[in-house]
Amino acid sequence: MARAVSTKQKSINTAIAGTLGFLMFFPILWILILSFKTEEDAIRAPLEVLFSSGWTLDSFGAVQARSDYFKHFSNSVIISVGSTVLGLLIAIPAAWSMAFVPSRHTKNILMWMLSTKMLPPVGVLVPIYLIFRDTGLLDSRTGLTIVLTLMNLPIIVWMLYTYFKEIPGEILEAARMDGASLREEVLYVLTPMAIPGMASTMLLNIILAWNEAFWTLNLTAAKAAPLTAFIASYSSPEGLFYAKLSAASIMAIAPILIMGWFSQKQLVRGLTFGAVK
C-alpha cells in the first residue's frame, strides 16, 4: 500500500516544507513587523524587536508625508496595466497566427523576438532618452507604457503562443466546416478557450512591469514616477531609517503581493510556458 501516507509522514513533510517556506518568506514578514515599529526599536536585536517593543503606525505617516504614495501607486497601476493590455492587443493576433497558421519562419520569428529581450537596456538608454526628449515623452506615463509594452512583448507573445498551441486544431476545423468566418472563429471558439492563458499572461506581465526599475527610474522625474521611484528615495540611509524603509517597502510591494497571492492558480498556469506536457 504505497499510496497511503501516514499522518506522521505527512506531519514530517509539513514541518520540513513549512520551515523552508517560512525562511523564504521571513524577509517579507520581517519588514512587515519593522514597519509597525519606532525607529529606535527597529534596530534592536531581533528578539527584543519581537517581544519587548510596542507597535505604531508612525512610519507609514512619515513616508506618506514625504512623498505622496497614491500618486506613485496610481502611476504604477496605469503603467503596468496599460502596458500589459496594449501588449496583449498586439500579441494576441501574432501568437494566434503563429500557433494556427505556422509557416517555416514561425519558430525563427519567435526566437528572434525572445532574443530582443536579451539586449541590455543600459546600452540603449542614451538613444532612447534622446528620442523621448524629442518626442516629448520624457516623464510621461504614455512613454513609459510604450517602453514597458515593447520590453515585455516577446514574453507575452511566447506565452500566448505556447498556450494557443495546446488548443486542439480539430475544434477549429469543425468550426470552419460549419462555415464560421475567421472573425467568428477567433471570437467564439478560440477566445473562450484562451481566456485562462491570457489571464495568466496578463498577471505575469503586470508583475514584471510593476517591478521594472531601470526604465521607470531613468525616464521619469516626478509626474510619471511609479513606485520604483518612490522607493528609490530610501536607498541611502539617513539616521535611523529601518522602520521608514520597511514601511515604504511594504507599501510598494503590497499591492502586487496581494494580487499575486489571490491569483496564484491562474499565474502558475501561465508560468509554465508550455513546459508541462
Binding site: N218, A225, F241
Partner: protein, 440 residues
Amino acid sequence: MNLRKTFASATAMSLIMSAGAFAEEITIATVNNADMIVMQELAPQWEEATGNTINWVVLEENVLRQRTTQDISTNGGSFDIMFIGAYETPIWGANGWLEPLNDFGDDADYDLNDIFQLVRNGLSDSEGNLYALPLYSETSFTYYRTDVFEDKGIAVPEGQPTYEEFAAMAAAAHDPENGIFGTCQRGKAGWGENMAFVGPLVNAFGGRWFDMDWQPQLDSEEWNNAITYYVDLVSNYGPPGASLNGHNENRALFKDGKCATWVDATSAATDVKNPDTSTVADVTDFFKAPKQVTDKGTGWFWSWALAIPASSQSKDTAKDFLKWATSKEYFELVGETKGWVAVPSGTRQSVEADPRRLEAAPFASTIVDAILSVDPADPTLEPVPYTGVQFVAIPEFQGIGNYVGQQISAALAGQQSVEEALANSQTFAVREMTKAGYIK
C-alpha cells in the same frame, strides 16, 4: 516671453488671490540630506503663498548626479531646479546649461552680498557669472566625543594635530567590546564619498592628483603613504562594514554614539549637536581636520546649491522658489520652526552673526572660520594646474574619481593591496587623460 514674465510677476504680487489661474508646477531634484528634508517640510508654505506646486524627486546622491547630469547634458528639461554642488556648477555654467542668476544681486531684500564671497565664487564660472545659490556650505573637520576622550585619558589636541597623532587617538579610543569604534571614516566608493576624505588626506601627505603637465600622480610615494595610512586606520579602528559606509551611514553611527572620532563635513554639526536628532549632542566637540607634511588643502570645500537648468520650462517660478529657499526669511523660518541649531550653516553672514544662532549653536563660528580658511585655488603642497581641494574641476574627474574610489574601497575591503589599487588607478587615470586629450 515678456508676457510670461509679466504674468509671473503679477502672480507674485497678487499671490493667493490669483494663484489658481496662473499656478505652475515645478520639479525639483534633490538628495535626502537633513537640510533638504527640512526644506521639503517647509516648502508647502511657499506653495500656499504662491499657489504653485512642487514635485520633489528625492534620490540617493550618486543616482541624483547621474540623473541630473544625464538630463541637463541632453537638454532633457525634466527638472526645473536641481541640487548640485561646487564641482558641477562652474563646469555646467560654462557649458551654458544653467540659467545665470546674476540678477539676484539687484534685489535689495535678497541681499546677495550677505552670502559668503568664497561660496559665491565657488558657484560662479571664471568670468564671475553666478549659476547657483547655496543652501549650505561646508569644509571638513574632526568630530570627537568629549566623554570618550576623558574616559580614556586622551588629550584633546590644541590647534591642528597630525594624522599620526590622530591615529594614536583613534587607537586609544577604540573599544569595540563596549560598542565604541576608534574612528568612523568614509569607505563607500565614489568621488563624492570616500574620495572626499581621501583627497584632503592625500593633500596633507603632500600628494596631488596631477602635475603641471596633467600627468596623474597616483603611483607616487605620497599617495602610497596616504592610502596605506587610510587603510590601516580604518581597518584597525573602524566599524565593521566600513567599505560600504558613506557620509550618511557614518553620520548615523556617530549620532548613535558608536564612533569616538569622525573627520567629515561641518554641515553635519547642526544635526549632530541637535539633541532632538542625536544621542551625543552634549558630548561632541570639534577640532581641525589633521595635517601631516603640510596643512594646505587639509579641509575640503563643498556647497550644496540650487540651480536652474537652461532647459527648464518654468524658469520664473523656479527663480521665485530659489529666491525664497535661500532668502533670509527662509533661514529665519527654519530657525523659528526647527530651532536655530538646525539652520543650514556656512551660507549667510547675517545668520551666522545672529545672536539666536550663536546662543543655540556656539560652535557656529568655529565652522565659519574653518570654511573661510579654505583656498580651493591653492590646494596642494606642490603646484597643480587645477582648482578644487577634494576634487579636480574638470569634467573627466567624475569618472577618474569614481574609479580610484572603487579601487581604494577594494583595498579597504581587503580584496587587493594598496599598491595594486594605486597601480590600477594610475593606469586608468592615464587612459582617461589620454582619451580626453590632456596627455598628448
